[in-house]
C-alpha cells in the first residue's frame, strides 16, 4: 500500500484490573483507517466498540488501561503519550462525537463560548476570527440563524440541533480523524438521517477520516467504506461494507445480518443466534463465538483463530483459515 494509513491500531489490548482478577476487554484488536476513509465499528453491547474509541482518543476510564499493542496516528505513536501531549492531540488531530449530545456540551456556557474556546486552544487565531469561524461552522452544520443562536445555551437547542453543535465542535480545529461513538442512537429516525448525511458530507468536505461506532447495521451500510465487526473484545470480521453485509465469511456476522428485520424480507421468523455474548470473565477457550456457533468444529474449542483472508474480507474463523 502506497498510502500511509492515518490511524493504525496494532494488537491493542485493554484490560480492567478488578478484585476478582483482570478482565481483558479488548484482546488483540488490529485495524487501520486511510485518510478520508469511513470505518464502521459494529457489535452488540459489551463487544468493546466504544472502548476501542475511548482507547484511541486516550479517554479510557480508570482502572481500564492499555496493556499491549500500539496506536499510531499518521505514523506517530499516541498510546503512550503523557496526558498533556495527548490533550493537544485530542481536538486538534482527533475530534470526538459522543452518543448523548446533552452531556457532551457544558450546560453553563453558551455554545459560542464552547466553540471559540476549542478553536482558540488549538489554532493561532484572534478571538474575533475564532467567533467568525464558529459561526461558519454552525452554518455548515445547518443551524438556522447561526449569528443569533451562537449566544444561546445548550438547553435552548433540540436534540438534533445539539448533535449538530457537537459535530461543529468536533470539526472546530480541523482534525484529521473523527471518532464518532453512536452519534445518532439518541435521536429519532427522521433526525438520524439528517445527522448521518451531514456527518458524511462534512467529513468529506474537510477531508477527515471517521471511525463510526454504532450498533445499527443500517447506518453502517449507508455511511461506511469498510466495517469491522467486534465480538467479545475481538475483531470477528473486517472488510469492505458491501462484502461484509452480503457475503459475510464469519458465522457471527452471518447470524447478525440474519437477525436484523429488513424492509424487503418476507420471512416469518428471523434467524436467531441462541444464547448471548459471553461475559468478560467467562470468555470461552478458542474462538469466543464457539458455544453459539452452528458450524463449530473441535479446533474452534481449543485454538483461537487469527484474521484470515476470506475473499475480499478478513475473518477470524477456522472455517476460513482451515486450509492454512
Amino acid at each position: 500500500m502506497a498510502l500511509q494509513p492515518l490511524l493504525e491500531v496494532k494488537h491493542l489490548r485493554v484490560e480492567f484490573p478488578t478484585r476478582h482478577g483482570t478482565l481483558l476487554a479488548l484482546d488483540d484488536i488490529s485495524f487501520d483507517i486511510a485518510p478520508g476513509e469511513i470505518l464502521g465499528v459494529v457489535g452488540e453491547s459489551g463487544a468493546g466498540k466504544s472502548l476501542t474509541g475511548a482507547a484511541i482518543i486516550g479517554l479510557l476510564e480508570p482502572p481500564g488501561r492499555i496493556a499491549g499493542g500500539e496506536i499510531r496516528l499518521a505514523g506517530q505513536r499516541i498510546d503512550n503519550l503523557p496526558y498533556e501531549d495527548m490533550r493537544k492531540i485530542r481536538g486538534r488531530q482527533i475530534g470526538a462525537i459522543f452518543q448523548d449530545p446533552l452531556t457532551s456540551l457544558n450546560p453553563l456556557y453558551t455554545i459560542g463560548r464552547q466553540l471559540t474556546e476549542t478553536i482558540l486552544t488549538h489554532l493561532p487565531v484572534s478571538a474575533e476570527e475564532a467567533r467568525q469561524r464558529a459561526i461558519r461552522l454552525l452554518q455548515e452544520t445547518g443551524i438556522p440563524a447561526a449569528e443569533q443562536r451562537i449566544d444561546q445555551y445548550p438547553h435552548q437547542f433540540s436534540g438534533g440541533m445539539r448533535q449538530r453543535v457537537v459535530i461543529a465542535l468536533a470539526l472546530a480545529a480541523e482534525p484529521k480523524l473523527i471518532v464518532a461513538d453512536e452519534p445518532t442512537t439518541a435521536l429519532d429516525v427522521s433526525i438520524q438521517a439528517q445527522i448521518i448525511s451531514l456527518l458524511k458530507r462534512l467529513c468529506k468536505d474537510h477531508g477527515a477520516a471517521v471511525m463510526l461506532v454504532t450498533h445499527d447495521m443500517g447506518v453502517i451500510a449507508e455511511t461506511c467504506d469498510r466495517v469491522a465487526v467486534l465480538y467479545a473484545g475481538r475483531v470477528a470480521e473486517i472488510g469492505p461494507v458491501g462484502e461484509v453485509i452480503h457475503r459475510p465469511a464469519h458465522p457471527y456476522t452471518a447470524g447478525l445480518m440474519g437477525s436484523i428485520p429488513a424492509m424487503d424480507d418476507t420471512r416469518e421468523r428471523l434467524l436467531q443466534i441462541d444464547g448471548a455474548m459471553p461475559r468478560l470473565n467467562a470468555i470461552p477457550l478458542g474462538c469466543a463465538f464457539n458455544p453459539r456457533c452452528e458450524q463449530v468444529m473441535d479446533r474452534c474449542r481449543v485454538e483461537r483463530p487469527e484474521l484470515f483472508d476470506a475473499g475480499a474480507t478478513r475473518a477470524a474463523c477456522w472455517l476460513v483459515g482451515a486450509g492454512t
Binding site: G218, A221, I260
Partner: protein, 333 residues
C-alpha cells in the same frame, strides 16, 4: 370478524402549567399538552396492530390508556364489546385486567430487583387468585416453571434474581409475567428497543410463536419500522398525538400515502441498499405544547397549502385505508 379492542376518539390532555403562585406572579397562562388527541382504531382478535411514530407522538400514552394506567380525558375504549369505562367498579376491572396485560420497554426497570423470579412471575397469579391450590405449596412453583419454559427459560430460574439475567432474558421474564393470567390481549410498549439485534430476534420470534399458539392479540408500539414490518398485520402511524394513516402492513409499506409516512419510510437506513441516496427530511418534530395549526405536519410537508395550515384533516376512509391528509383526499399527491 369482530374486533377485540375498539378505541373511539381517545384523548389524553396533561396539565403542564407552572405552579399557581408562578402563574399569578409572572402572569403565565395555564398550559396543556394534548398527548393523544382523538385517536380511533380497532384490533381484530388474533391480529397485531403496530403504532409507530417518533418520540413524543403519544404512542406510549395510547398504550397506557388502553390498559388503564391513565384515565382518558375523552373518548372510550371497548374491550370485547364491553366499555372499559363502565368497568370502573372494582370487580369488573379485575376481570378485564386479567384479560389484558402489558410488556414494558426497559427490562431493567420493570422487574423488582429485590424479588425472585418466582415472586415476579407469580404475583399476577396470586393477585388474581389463580394459584393452583390442589397441588399444595408447589402449585405456584409448577405454574411459574411452565410459564418460564414457554418463553425459553428454565424451571430452575425461579430462584434467581433479575440481576442474574441478561437484557433479553429479563424481557422474557416480563413476557412470562404478562402471560401468567392467560390474557387475550397484550400491549407491548417498545418491547425490543432496549435489546441488541441478535437478542431482539429471539424475543420477536418468541412473541410470534406465542401469538400463534395462544391466539394472542397485540398492540405493538415501536419506532423501528423494520421491526414493525416484521410483526404487524396493520400499522398506524402517529404524529403529534394523532393518527395520520392506518393501513394493512403490506399496503402501507408498498404504497405509503401520507407524506409523513413516506418521510419515515425514506428515513430508514436499509442494510440491503448500500449506496442508495436518501432524501433526509427537513425540520424536526414541533413542540407539543404549541402544535402547528391545521394539519400538525404542514410545516414539514412538501405538499402543504393554505388549507393544510388552517383546517385540521380528519381520519377518513380512502381506498380501503384510513388517512388524515387534505392533499391525498383532494388527489394532489
Amino acid at each position: 370478524m369482530s374486533a377485540l379492542v375498539e378505541v373511539r376518539d381517545l384523548a389524553k390532555v396533561f396539565d403542564v402549567s407552572a405552579p399557581w403562585l408562578n402563574r399569578v406572579v409572572e402572569g403565565k397562562p395555564r398550559q396543556f399538552v394534548y398527548a393523544v388527541d382523538g385517536v380511533s382504531f380497532s384490533i381484530e382478535r388474533g391480529k397485531t396492530l403496530a403504532l409507530v411514530g417518533e418520540s413524543g407522538c403519544g404512542k406510549s400514552t395510547v398504550a397506557r390508556l388502553l390498559v388503564g394506567l391513565y384515565q382518558p380525558t375523552r373518548g372510550d375504549v371497548r374491550f370485547d364489546g364491553q366499555p372499559t369505562d363502565a368497568a370502573q367498579n372494582a370487580a369488573g376491572l379485575r376481570t378485564l385486567r386479567k384479560r389484558m396485560q402489558m410488556i414494558f420497554q426497559d427490562p431493567y426497570a420493570s422487574l423488582n430487583p429485590r424479588w425472585k423470579v418466582l415472586d415476579i412471575v407469580g404475583e399476577p397469579l396470586r393477585e388474581h387468585g389463580l394459584v393452583d391450590k390442589a397441588q399444595g405449596t408447589d402449585g405456584l412453583r409448577r405454574q411459574v416453571s411452565e410459564l418460564l419454559m414457554s418463553v425459553g427459560l428454565a424451571a430452575a430460574d425461579c430462584d434467581k434474581f433479575p440481576h442474574q439475567f441478561s437484557g433479553g432474558q429479563r424481557q422474557r421474564i416480563s413476557i412470562a409475567r404478562a402471560l401468567a393470567t392467560q390474557p387475550e390481549f397484550l400491549v407491548c410498549d417498545e418491547p425490543t428497543s432496549a435489546l441488541d439485534v441478535s437478542v431482539q430476534a429471539q424475543v420477536l420470534n418468541i412473541m410470534k410463536d406465542l401469538q400463534r399458539s395462544r391466539g394472542l392479540t397485540y398492540l405493538f408500539i415501536s419506532h423501528n419500522l423494520a421491526v414493525v414490518r416484521h410483526v404487524a398485520d396493520d400499522v398506524g402511524v402517529m404524529y403529534l398525538g394523532r393518527l395520520v394513516e392506518v393501513a394493512p402492513k403490506l399496503e402501507l409499506f408498498s404504497h405509503p400515502r401520507h407524506p409523513y409516512t413516506r418521510m419515515l419510510l425514506d428515513a430508514i437506513p436499509d442494510i440491503h441498499m448500500s449506496g442508495r441516496a436518501r432524501t433526509p427530511v427537513q425540520g424536526e418534530v414541533p413542540n407539543p405544547l404549541n402544535p402547528p395549526s391545521g394539519c400538525a405536519f404542514h410545516p414539514r410537508c412538501p405538499h402543504a397549502n393554505a388549507r393544510c395550515s388552517s383546517e385540521r384533516p380528519a381520519l377518513i376512509n380512502f381506498q380501503g385505508i384510513h388517512i388524515a391528509c387534505h392533499a391525498v383526499e383532494e388527489g394532489r399527491i
